[in-house]
Subunit: 198 residues, 2 copies
């Protein structure tokens, strides 16, 4: 691990590397020794930094939600026009999923079962905040539409999250469909599906 | 484990129980000893039945694809009218995901990384067959539509799979939205999104 005096940056560096180890070996399959080795710390040193394996998983997920906040939410919040805000949310979230540099997010999406009690509740509260923002944006888009929606803003928000979060299972950045084409297609599909506009 | 003379049924019983153990502990976190204990076999007995841990994971996934074939695909194949076939596919697949008795499927959806080489290829070939059937059904639906589609049948198929496969993350059968309402909403949303019909 590179030496640094900034504790937050150091924690994020540990999180990035640990997320890759969890991704490769699974949360239960990866030992703290494996992670210490990958990070370049002794096991005692790793425990000093992160407290426990549970806590480390929590820190990774929390970092993943920070990335979502910083790269998607914070930019979207500044956009007052609802459709434009929704477009930005869709494009930003897709970018987060399809770029492999953010493996932490993949871990978040899959290992939520491994987190227990209050740590789990904290992550779920952050996820819920995101879903509510998405839902209220979708509801705002609806008020400017000419036809009644096909489904409720809440169901639409979850459908959209599914469409996007599932991308890591099949979408390849170097494949036939460019990210730009994907964003446009998904946005068009979603707006049509929700509002029935052609 | 209940005694039975039918090897296929016996293997399925082992798969059901083992899937639950993998689901709880993760593939890497669950030992063959854990699984043998849950199934009610000795470890040697379990190895005799399934060969290896890899092979066991493969058998679970294969059983999951059998369930998909038997409960969704086989029924849809008999329907000649494309929209009706698509409706049946959506309803059948949703039912598979939201009913917890089929935990194997959840494992399939998440542990694909853990399977290697030819076993992985075999499962992926079965998944691809399903995606192609979905895609060709969507393409058939399109030919009877009045407007050009918002996205290609392939992207639409993956979007639909994401919407449905993500349900296990948030949808609760005993929640506010009934399964019937969910199926109708998703079908309407998808057909609108894809065809632009209101």
């Amino acid at each position: 691990m590179a030496h640094t005096r900034d504790p937050k940056r150091q924690l994020r560096e540990i999180c990035s590397i640990a997320a890759r180890v969890f991704y490769d070996k699974g949360y239960d399959g990866a030992s703290m020794q494996d992670i210490a080795g990958a990070v370049g710390l002794t096991k005692a040193g790793l425990y000093h930094h992160v407290g426990s394996k549970d806590r480390l998983l929590f820190e990774i997920m929390n970092y993943g939600m920070d990335i979502l906040d910083e790269t998607v939410l914070s930019k979207a919040r500044g956009i007052s026009e609802p459709r434009e805000r929704l477009r930005r949310l869709i494009a930003g979230h897709i970018d987060l999923i399809v770029r492999t540099r953010n493996r932490e997010i993949t871990v978040i999406l899959h290992e939520n079962r491994s987190l227990k009690g209050p740590l789990r509740s904290k992550i779920n509260a952050r996820k819920l905040e995101y879903i509510r923002f998405l839902e209220s944006t979708i509801a705002e888009v609806q008020t400017s539409a000419s036809s009644p929606p096909a489904i409720t803003p809440r169901l639409a928000a979850f459908a959209l999250l599914g469409m996007i979060n599932w991308l890591y299972q099949w979408y390849k950045l170097d494949g036939k469909v460019t990210e730009e084409e994907l964003v446009q297609a998904y946005t068009r599909f979603f707006l049509r599906g929700f509002l029935g506009e052609t």
